[in-house]
């Protein structure tokens, strides 16, 4: 029965769209007709421009204290242009203009080039004055002046805003340099080379990538942004009408009073947006292909794309969540907009966001085996690049697929919620928490805040790379971004700092459990990381470079303990087990809460291979806070965990390649079990914890 309603809604959406001839003409027919016309016009203009420039006689003047020198060189150029022409282009014609005031003539556009011959001293004077003017002061670095040539100089004055003047300049400069090289070689030959020509050698190169891989890499760069633009513009045709249009016409209220479920309405509209988005994309791609076949668009000679069937399937699979994300985002935008006009106002921003994400994937150095795989759309963009060159890195392809898939699901869920909100009908946009703000609103906003903090850390880590030292990174990331961000949350939502940071006394026995729990957590965490590496191999180089970073060779041990154990222990706990847990405490039951806070903590470590062990630690520490109601034991646990993981290697007690014996893992599990058993028996649950099957709630 539900599919019956869904099919009816979907069919009607498409039927109504197909009957809107204006939309069809603008969205589909116009690009089909306009695109070739545009290409033809552009080619015609380009050819006309080339012909005009080639037929032009370049008028030039010669000036300066070394006018004769310059004139002699220019004559050499003209001879070369006449007697040694480049067969790939038409020869250029130059005409000497002997009128006075060449500077005013070139400014008036009467001549195209002024060639000025200057002596070495005069050039130095002129150039020094120019440099001083550019710097805005009389002091110019001596080294810059010392680098100026000690020979006569030919200066070419041209106008870059005029294509003929620019073409004259380019041709003259090219030929002058050619002439200079030829002159230098003949002087060398005349005076005999000091070294044998065989000692100078020759430079050769060979591209070992096949043309398929090279073309695939090029296409891989463009494919995601191109498809996104087409899907967004195509899908937008339906999306704008789907909710904001219906709202404006008054049909949305009619639809919402029917027995159709909200999910059915959203799914039908989503399917319609995706169908039209994909259809418009396919039509335009077919259109492009036709122009390539017809020769309207010229591809490079060596352009050959060869995709294995498996790669093609993977590509289609990767674009599936992207399609859903695009259609959900468009619908969400439509749902959030009050009218067509508002939708059209916001749409360029949405387009820009998607394009920025797609463009980020095209940046050099983007590697799928990094946290970038976790970023929706960017991960898929990087994955597409790799698939296009025939590399199928399955675990990371799945991560990229899942990250965009989760974002798509989230957007669809938000759209469904938007459709259920009364704002659509009543115009009242707020609920009580919105109006009252403060602590009542914080639980709804906490994950949004952490999303922003995560984005800041990701962007700064991509931007700064390894240029920041250990101390700077720890201080900036943990204190500057995370802790300051948490203080902002406390201030913005008028939270009680003691409650928000869980600054309460724990049961005394909790301190003792830390001494067993922290080493046990480290051992089991290492075991888990080893297990993870069996499924997702991490290059040794990555682990070695991380270990070297942690070893921070030049720092004294106390600083390593401070920056890698104490500061993370204190501040990360205040942030993740303090503010984050406080925000989620009334929304999630204990187990989902511990998992969510743990996963968020893991994600903040930005490196894919570290997510599992750090998320695991995050889950344990959240459990400690929920059982003790206090952040203090978790701080000590965290600091001890980090110290035990780093200091023994730094102190030279164990080697960097030291492997834990196999028996230590079950021992770690048992010790961890004991620690949590003690905590459970002495529990002082976190205030406000939702009831759970384990009766964790405070009585």
């Amino acid at each position: 029965m539900p599919s019956f309603v869904l099919a009816t809604l979907y069919r009607s959406e498409l039927r109504m769209l197909l009957r809107d001839t204006r939309t069809i003409v603008i969205a589909v027919v116009a690009p089909l007709v306009l695109f070739p016309v545009l290409i033809l016009v552009m080619r015609w203009v380009e050819q006309r421009q080339v012909t005009r420039v080639e037929r032009t006689v370049y008028r030039y003047a010669v000036t300066g204290s070394h006018e004769d020198f310059a004139y002699y060189k220019v004559q050499g150029v003209i001879n070369r242009e006449t007697f040694d022409p480049d067969t790939t282009r038409a020869p250029a014609a130059f005409l000497h203009d002997r009128s006075p005031n060449p500077d005013s003539l070139i400014r008036a556009g009467a001549i195209h080039l002024v060639i000025e011959g200057l002596g070495a001293d005069e050039y130095r004077r002129v150039r020094t004055r120019e440099l001083q003017e550019e710097a805005g002061s009389d002091s110019v670095e001596l080294a810059v002046i010392a680098d100026l040539p000690d020979v006569p100089v030919i200066r070419l004055h041209y106008r870059a805003d005029q294509d003929v003047s620019r073409a004259a300049f380019e041709r003259m400069r090219e030929r002058l340099e050619e002439l200079r090289r030829s002159h230098r070689d003949s002087v060398y030959r005349a005076h005999g080379l000091v070294v044998g020509i065989e000692d100078m050698g020759e430079i050769g190169s060979e591209n070992i990538a096949s043309t398929e891989r090279e073309s695939g890499a090029l296409l891989g760069l463009m494919l995601t942004p191109l498809l996104l633009v087409l899907m967004l513009t195509g899908g937008s045709i339906v999306a704008v009408d789907a909710i904001s249009g219906e709202k404006e016409r008054g049909t949305l209220e009619t639809l919402l009073t029917t027995a159709a479920r909200r999910a059915e309405i959203v799914n039908a509209k989503q399917l319609a947006v995706a169908t039209v988005g994909v259809a418009v994309t396919l039509v335009n791609l077919a259109n492009l292909l036709a122009y390539v076949v017809l020769g309207l668009i010229e591809l490079p000679d060596s352009f050959t794309v060869s995709l294995a069937p498996a790669s093609l399937v993977v590509l289609l699979m990767l674009f599936l969540p992207v399609t859903v994300l695009v259609s959900s985002s468009l619908l969400l935008l439509s749902g959030r907009s009050k009218s067509y006009k508002e939708y059209q106002l916001y749409f360029p921003f949405l387009l820009l966001i998607f394009l920025a994400l797609a463009a980020a994937a095209a940046l050099p150095g983007m590697d799928l085996r990094s946290a970038i795989a976790l970023v929706p759309v960017v991960g898929v963009g990087v994955a597409v690049r790799e698939v296009m060159v025939g590399e199928l890195d399955w675990p990371f392809l799945m991560v990229a697929f899942a990250s965009t898939g989760i974002a798509a699901w989230g957007a669809a869920w938000l759209t469904e919620r938007t459709l259920s909100t009364e704002r659509l009908i009543s115009g009242a946009e707020l609920d009580r928490a919105d109006l009252v703000g403060g602590p009542a609103l914080f639980p709804r906003r906490v994950l949004r805040w952490f999303g922003v903090l995560w984005a800041i850390l990701l962007v700064t880590s991509l931007w700064s790379g390894p240029s920041l030292g250990l101390r700077e990174q720890v201080l900036f990331n943990i204190v500057g971004v995370l802790f300051v961000g948490s203080l902002l949350m406390v201030r913005s939502y008028r939270l009680d700092p003691r409650a928000a940071f869980a600054l309460r006394g724990p049961p005394p026995v909790a301190w003792a459990t830390v001494l067993i729990g922290a080493p046990a957590a480290l051992v089991t965490g290492i075991g888990l990381a080893e297990l993870f590496r069996r499924f997702v191999p991490v290059p040794d180089e990555v682990i070695r470079s991380f270990a070297q970073f942690l070893a921070a060779g030049d720092l004294p041990v106390w600083q390593i303990a401070l920056f890698l154990a104490v500061i993370p222990g204190v501040f990360e706990e205040l942030v993740f087990r303090g503010v984050l847990v406080h925000g989620l405490i009334r929304r999630l039951r204990p187990v989902p809460l511990a998992l969510t806070a743990g996963v968020v903590f893991g994600f903040f470590h930005l490196s894919l291979w570290r997510i599992v062990p750090t998320a695991y630690l995050g889950v344990l520490l959240t459990a400690v806070v929920l059982l003790t109601g206090s952040v203090y034991p978790a701080m000590l646990w965290h600091a001890l965990y980090n110290a035990l993981g780093i200091l023994p290697v730094r102190m030279g007690w164990v080697s960097q390649d030291f492997d834990l014996p196999l028996w230590s893992y079950p021992l770690g599990v048992a010790a961890l079990g004991v620690a949590f058993l003690v905590l459970w028996n002495a529990r002082r649950p976190y205030p406000g914890l939702l009831a759970s099957p384990g009766r964790l709630r405070a009585s």
Partner: protein, 247 residues
């Protein structure tokens, strides 16, 4: 048997400029099959908010209602299946034909698929749509649209019908036609709840008149009951009596 039962329906809106606004407070009433209940109130009294809560477009802040035994919070789809909602703000899809519109609403309201064709033909005949059944809604006159709109409200043959100020903006003839439709549907044992601020309309159509003011139900009963309670003859005077704090 009571087909509609509202219990302490309350709706509060939160607005940045006005703060907390209680549009409807503790509204309770009940109707039986074949009964016409009129919600009579001035603009902003809470009539539309009440009806939108019954149609599950708005979620009550507290209280609930049952339509044909279905709770509107626990089972909103079943409630909407049992209900047809008409208001001047519920528009039709301009690019569907009149016939397609009726088919569409019968389908999405889960009317048995095998009987849709027959039901649509019946509605086309009954509401005088045959002449323009294949014309797109965007081409129809406002009178024709009104007929299609009423037909789509009853397309799935719901036992309860909600009309929110159905005659607002209509000319005299169209308003009379609408009143005739309501009367006929009532004779077919449909439960009808309709809101209005036109006294004569309420007098003519309603079995029960509920007087609403500033979100509160001031009084409910037959016209005779109100006359007895207030000692006033005309409904206009009855209404003013309640609104000014009498009775």
């Amino acid at each position: 048997m009571e087909t509609v039962v509202a219990e302490d329906l309350t709706k509060t809106f939160y607005d940045e400029s006005r703060g907390e606004v209680c549009a409807v407070e503790n509204m309770s009433f009940a109707c039986r099959a074949g009964e016409v209940l009129g919600l009579l109130g001035s603009n902003g009294a809470g009539k539309t908010t009440t009806l939108r809560m019954l149609a599950t477009i708005l979620r009550p802040s507290s209280g609930t209602a049952r339509i044909m035994g279905h709770d509107l919070i626990r089972d909103p789809e079943a409630v909407r299946r049992s209900l047809g909602f008409y208001s001047t703000s519920t528009a039709l899809y301009p690019r569907l034909t009149a016939r397609e519109t009726l088919e569409f609403f019968a389908r999405v309201n889960r009317y048995p698929a095998a009987r849709i064709e027959e039901r649509v033909s019946e509605l086309v005949g009954r509401f005088g749509i045959a002449e323009f059944q294949d014309a797109r809604v965007e081409k129809l006159s406002s009178g024709m649209r009104q007929r299609v709109s009423i037909a789509r409200t009853v397309a799935h043959d719901p036992p309860v019908l909600v009309f929110d100020e159905p005659t607002v903006g209509l000319d005299v003839i169209a308003a009379l036609e609408m009143q005739e439709v309501i009367r006929t549907l009532s004779e077919e044992r449909k439960t009808i709840i309709f809101s209005t601020h036109i006294m004569s309309e309420a007098e003519k159509l309603c079995d029960t008149i509920a007087i609403i003011h500033r979100g509160h139900l001031l009084a409910s009963g037959t016209l005779e009951h109100h006359r007895r309670c207030t000692g006033k003859h005309y409904l206009e005077d009855v209404f003013v009596h309640y609104v000014r704090g009498g009775g």
